[in-house]
Every structure is written in structure tokens, then in C-alpha cells.
């Protein structure tokens, strides 16, 4: 390095800075028409790429949902399909619309449904909270691990997905049963003299819930924590903050988007979960997913089952919309 060459470099840099940055060049085609064609093509392709998933959602989620909504406003009848029709032609050019709100009224009046809804929300909330605490610690640990170790640790988090969900729940049943592995082990070392009742209790349900949904908490949290600049922690320490303070004032506030994403991913499927409460839950842990199943298949009361589903969706969508509304407002306030 020497003075002259540095000067030379500075000059070349100065020249480059003054230059207008190159704009994105479209495929070279001569003429105005070609130019328009290029612009049209770009827009069309963009629309197609964005459009495909939306069409998919429309066809496979929104339309079926409308259908379910329609059924929820019908009457249960002994027929095939087992519900009354919404529109009936009466005489010439007259349509009678037959809306039945009984199903929704039933959900309000029958304490069984209200209990099931509240219970589902409570269990999902507690499971999400436990997942958040365990998941945060794990995600933080993985994000702060050596880069070579990170991938292995992440793989271990995802590994259970390689076997069927149902199989994993059954495996837990084998572990938690009265003559299961855990009880046998404890009996063998003499810690207990009769098996502990774990299956068909809330405890078993929470264990399996947390186990099943933990990766959904860890992955978004990891993605968030991994991006956090480690020098922010150093800057905080440098300014006199002890590690706990640094965590509470820097790391935690900056990981809120990850926390929200993780909690959504756990809470929403947990509320409607059917398999876990059915297989390991006790008689007192009635959840709405199980009610839904019973209404459809045991009672064959499709309209009520549909109403249950619609209300569940509203229950889940409402807090989500509220959150979106407030976060959008917050962004408006600090542009």
C-alpha cells in the first residue's frame, strides 16, 4: 500500500460514485411495441405466479368453507345428504330460502359446547405457553451454537416429522401407560410401588401436545433469533447491562415477531386438535375437535357439526385479525 496507489484508488472510487447506477435492463428488443410486450410479459408472469396459490386457496378452502357454512344453516334430516336444502323452488319464479339458525342457538344454549370451546382454548393456551418457554430456550441455544452444530441441532428438531404423527402419539401411549415403559422403569428401580396413572389425564395431554407442536414453535423462533445481530448483545453489555438485562431489553423485544409467529403456529392447530385428546386425553378434557368428530360421524348431525366448525374458525380468525389490525396501526405510527 502506498500514497500514490491510494490516491489513485480514491479517484476511481469517486468516479464510480458519480456514475448513475445501472438500471435493470429488459431483454433487448427493438421498437416501442417490443418494449410494451416485455412489460406486459413481466406483469403477466408475476400475476400468474401470485395467482396460482390464490386460485388453489379459493378452490380448496374458500368454496368448501362456503359449503360448510351453507350446511350449518340447514336442518338435520334423515336423508342423503343428511341436511335440508337452502333454496327451494316454489311454484313459478319463486324461491324460498330456508335459513335455520337453530344450530348456532344450540351451541350457545347447550353448556356442553361452550365448555368444549373454552376447554379447547384453555388447553391450547397452556400448551402454547409451555411450548414457548421450552421452544424459546431451545431456539436461543441453537441460534447461539457453533454454525456447524446449528444444522445438526435443527435436523434433530425436524427429525420426528419423518415418522407419522399418529405413530408418535401411539409411541407416547406406550411410554405413559400404566404398564408402559416409564412406569415399569420407576417400579423396577423402586421409586414407586404402584403405577402412576398418567394416561387419560390432562398431564398426558399436555406432554403429547407440547411434544408434537414444539417444532412449530422452535423453527420460526430460530429463524428470528438467528438473524439478530450478536453485536447488539455486545453493545448492550458494553453499555453496562448484565446478561439478564440484555435479554429482557434487547433480545426479547427484538424476537417478538418470532414469538407471535410461533404461538400462532402452535395455538391455531392446537385448538382444533382431535387426535391427541381422543387418544391420550381423559374424560374431563373435552375438546372441540372431538365434539366435531362426534357430531359428524357418531350423531350424523351435519348442520350442527358445520356450525361447530364455523364458530371455531371465527374464534380463531378473530384474534388473528385483531393482531393484524394493531400491528398495521403500529407500523403507521412509526413509518
Amino acid at each position: 500500500m502506498n500514497v500514490n496507489s491510494v490516491k489513485l484508488n480514491d479517484q476511481t472510487i469517486a468516479i464510480e460514485e458519480n456514475r448513475v447506477p445501472p438500471t435493470e435492463k429488459p431483454v433487448v428488443r427493438s421498437g416501442k411495441l417490443r418494449h410494451l410486450l416485455n412489460a406486459f410479459e413481466a406483469r403477466t408472469w408475476r400475476n400468474i405466479v401470485i395467482g396460482i396459490p390464490y386460485i388453489w386457496m379459493l378452490l380448496l378452502f374458500f368454496l368448501p368453507f362456503l359449503y360448510v357454512f351453507k350446511i350449518s344453516l340447514a336442518e338435520s334430516i334423515m336423508a342423503r345428504p343428511p341436511f335440508s336444502t337452502l333454496f327451494t323452488w316454489v311454484g313459478d319464479a319463486q324461491v324460498s330460502i330456508n335459513l335455520v339458525f337453530d344450530n348456532y342457538l344450540l351451541l350457545l344454549q347447550d353448556a356442553l359446547y361452550t365448555t368444549a370451546y373454552l376447554n379447547s382454548l384453555k388447553i391450547a393456551f397452556v400448551a402454547t405457553l409451555i411450548c414457548l418457554i421450552i421452544g424459546y430456550i431451545m431456539a436461543y441455544g441453537i441460534a447461539r451454537a457453533q454454525p456447524t452444530m446449528r444444522n445438526i441441532l435443527l435436523l434433530l428438531v425436524i427429525l420426528p416429522f419423518w415418522t407419522s404423527f399418529l405413530l408418535r402419539v401411539y409411541a407416547w401411549m406406550g411410554l405413559l401407560a400404566n404398564h408402559g415403559i416409564i412406569n415399569n422403569l420407576l417400579l423396577a428401580i423402586g421409586l414407586i410401588d404402584k403405577p402412576i396413572q398418567m394416561m387419560y389425564t390432562n398431564f398426558a395431554m399436555y406432554v403429547v401436545f407440547v411434544y408434537s407442536f414444539l417444532p412449530f414453535m422452535i423453527l420460526p423462533l430460530y429463524a428470528n433469533l438467528e438473524k439478530l445481530d450478536a453485536t447488539l448483545d455486545e453493545a448492550s453489555a458494553d453499555l453496562g447491562a448484565k446478561p439478564v438485562t440484555t435479554f429482557l431489553t434487547i433480545t426479547l423485544p427484538l424476537s417478538v415477531p418470532g414469538i407471535i409467529a410461533g404461538c400462532m403456529l402452535v395455538f391455531i392447530p392446537a385448538v382444533g386438535e382431535f387426535v391427541i385428546p381422543t387418544l391420550v386425553g381423559g374424560p374431563d378434557s373435552l375438546m372441540i375437535g372431538r365434539m366435531l368428530f362426534d357430531e359428524f360421524f357418531a350423531n350424523r348431525d351435519w348442520p350442527v357439526a358445520s356450525a361447530v366448525a364455523v364458530v371455531l374458525l371465527i374464534l380463531l380468525v378473530f384474534p388473528f385479525m385483531l393482531y393484524k389490525h394493531f400491528s398495521a396501526k403500529q407500523e403507521e405510527r412509526s413509518p
Partner: protein
């Protein structure tokens, strides 16, 4: 943050044998596995110095700074600040603050809150925090931006916030990691002087890590040139530029021409050096450590070489003849690469004091290069 009325420090405290150093680094080594980033360095820095650690990438300068900040524990050695051993203290208990190269501004806090962060950790009364934040914002001319979020600031403004956040803590020593590297050239020059003014006003000891020799020369009271985890040379900018001790320093700071030769004759006030690359002998000032028969490196800076088309009258010593190989017009000065008959290329530069419309020399012109013996430096290694 009040500016000091008088300057209680003298300008060259390191020359005073009785002066107590403010920061003492004693035999500090930092190893990462097999790699030694900092290798047994010792250094004494005095109060209110603006000290630069200068070196290329991977020379260990940033590691040394991080050791001082407390982010790395030295493998060996001790660090004393104001007489207190801080070697084992965690960063949050050290009386030093750091300005990070990336600024590390907390993205979720406003400018104000970023600056108040360190004061809140000291549990100061709210009124004091507010007044100190206001003062420091004024000092760095950021008062109108107090409520802004970091992402609404330009690079230069972010740099000021980072500086203010560290300054507001009134640290005993402020560590700056490449403070100006992220700014564009014009802003960098402007900020350099501002940084010096702030340091002058507050009298805080600054330690600046930089790879930019110009920046180091402009800013510092003293520079430590680092290479491979060790100090090559420590001195004032003038010492380091005009009297480099080693070839590494001479080459690293500015550009220089080095002639290898053998001392032919010791005179009363000079030595005559025979060099194979030059036709005439080289004359250097008397130096008690040099004796006839020894081989030496004689160095001369390009700007101290006189370029002329006519042969100088006194051409017994320090005059070489060569062909213009290349020349560059840089506006304020012109640089020449001259090839001697031996094939050695000598760099020379001359300021363009008068406006020129036509270059005085052309490619392949024969020119004479000459210099004063007093302007040469003898390098030891």
C-alpha cells in the same frame, strides 16, 4: 457534558518518564485455538491521548480492542486502567465504552432511548439522564433527530448516534472500531476533524482501530503499527512517516523507495553507501549505529525526490538517471515511475504548484532524480 476549560494534559505525555500511564497493557496474548491473534503485546497509553491501532486485516488490532472492551479474555497478560486491574472484569463492569464498526444501534429504540440506555443501566435519576442525553445530542448535532428510529437515519447520522451513545457514559477510555469505515469519502474527512474536536473538548482517551493509514495519520497523537499480532512500531504520525524503523512500517505507511547497499565509508557527519542499483553512491546522515562494511537499507519517500530533465550540478551523490516508465496526473500532484538503468523502478512525485496545460515529461523521457541526504531514512529490518 461540559467542555474542559483548560487542558490539564501535556501534548506528549509519553516522553515524560514520571508520568503514570492511564492504560497499561502488559504482555497480552490472545489465542483462538492454534491461531495467535495477539502475540505478547505491551503498551502504555496516557490520559487524553488519541491512540490509533493501525494494521491490515487480520493483524490482531480488532482482537486487541475487544480484549480491552472485555469481549475476549486474554490468554495471557494483564490490563490496567487508571491503576486498576480490569483483566477479569466483564464488559458491563469496565469503565470503557466502545463504538462498534457496525454501530450496533438498537433498532427497536429511538435515538434518544439508544443514548439513554447506558445511563439507565447506571440507575441514574431521570432528570439527569434527560439532561445528559440532551447535552450529548447537541454535541454530536443530532438534537432534531432525538425521536427518530435508527432506520430513519442516514449512515452518517447513525455514526453520530453510536458515538453519542458511547460518549454519554463518560467512559475513562472510548474504543472506536473503524469509526469512519462505513462513511463515504467526503463525509469521512469531515467527520475525522469533528471526532478530533470532540475528543479535544472532552479530554476522553480514545483508542481507534483503523486500517486506513491516512485516517490514522490525521487523527492520532500516536500510532501503533500492527502486524501478525505484534506491534511493529509505536510513535507519533510524524515519527512513523518520516523516521520509520522497519521496512514493514515504511511500506505500510505511504509509499517509499528502498535501496539496498553496503556502507563504503564513514565520514564525520555522514556515511557513503554503495548501491548496485544506482550509478553514484548514496549519502546518508551520520548514524552511530552504522559502521563501514555493514549492509543497510536506505529509504526515500517519493515526494522528497526532485525530478528534473537536466542533470543537477552537484551529481556526486544521491542522483540517479532513469527513463519515465509511467506517470500519473492526480490533480494536486503528479507521480512518476522511473526505471533506472539497473531495471529498478523508483517512484517520485511532485506537487503541481502552477496550473499546467501540458505535461512536462512524456513516456521514455530521460530524467534525473535527486534528493537530500537529510531526507533519507536508514531502515534496520
Amino acid at each position: 457534558m461540559k467542555p474542559l476549560e483548560e487542558k490539564p494534559w501535556d501534548t506528549q505525555p509519553w516522553l515524560d518518564k514520571h508520568k503514570k500511564p492511564f492504560l497499561e497493557i502488559r504482555g497480552v496474548t490472545k489465542k483462538f485455538g492454534d491461531f495467535t491473534a495477539v502475540n505478547n503485546v505491551s503498551l502504555e497509553i496516557y490520559k487524553s491521548e488519541l491512540f490509533c491501532l493501525l494494521g491490515g486485516s487480520g493483524c490482531g488490532k480488532t482482537t486487541l480492542l475487544r480484549v480491552l472492551a472485555g469481549f475476549e479474555t486474554p490468554t495471557e497478560g494483564k490490563i490496567f486502567i487508571d491503576g486498576v486491574d480490569v483483566t477479569e472484569l466483564p464488559p458491563y463492569e469496565r469503565p470503557v465504552n466502545m463504538m462498534f464498526q457496525s454501530y450496533a444501534i438498537f433498532p427497536h429504540m429511538s435515538v434518544e432511548k439508544n443514548i439513554a440506555y447506558g445511563l439507565k443501566r447506571e440507575r441514574l435519576p431521570k432528570a439527569e439522564i434527560r439532561s445528559r442525553v440532551e447535552d450529548v445530542l447537541e454535541l454530536v448535532q443530532m438534537s432534531p433527530f432525538a425521536k427518530r428510529k435508527p432506520h430513519q437515519l442516514s449512515g452518517g447520522q447513525q455514526q453520530r448516534v453510536a458515538l453519542a451513545r458511547a460518549l454519554v457514559k463518560q467512559p475513562k477510555i472510548l474504543l472506536l472500531d473503524e469509526p469512519l469505515a462505513a462513511l463515504d469519502r467526503n463525509l469521512r474527512e469531515e467527520t475525522q476533524f469533528e471526532l478530533m474536536n470532540i475528543q479535544d473538548k472532552l479530554g476522553i482517551t480514545f483508542i481507534v482501530v483503523t486500517h486506513d493509514q491516512k485516517e490514522a495519520m490525521t487523527l492520532s497523537t500516536r500510532i501503533a503499527v500492527m502486524n501478525k499480532g505484534q506491534f511493529v512500531e509505536i510513535g507519533t504520525p510524524t515519527d512513523i512517516y518520516e523516521y520509520p524503523q522497519s521496512r514493514f512500517t515504511a511500506n505500510f505507511i505511504g509509499s517509499i523507495n528502498i535501496f539496498e547497499g553496503v556502507v563504503k565509508e564513514d565520514r564525520l557527519d555522514s556515511h557513503v553507501v554503495r548501491c548496485e542499483d544506482t550509478e553514484c553512491d548514496l549519502l546518508i546522515d551520520r548514524d552511530s549505529s552504522i559502521h563501514a562494511g555493514e549492509s543497510v537499507w536506505v529509504a526515500i519517500r517519493p515526494e522528497k525526490i526532485n525530478v528534473s530533465k537536466e542533470e543537477p550540478a552537484d551529481h556526486h551523490f544521491n542522483t540517479v538517471r532513469g527513463k519515465i516508465l509511467d506517470f500519473g496526473y492526480l490533480g494536486n500532484l503528479s507521480v512518476y515511475n522511473v526505471e533506472l538503468d539497473s531495471g529498478k523502478i523508483v517512484k517520485a512525485s511532485a506537487p503541481n504548484r502552477n496550473r499546467i496545460s501540458k505535461h512536462r515529461v512524456d513516456w521514455d523521457d530521460i530524467v534525473y532524480l535527486s534528493w537530500e541526504a537529510a531526507n533519507t531514512v536508514v531502515l534496520s529490518g
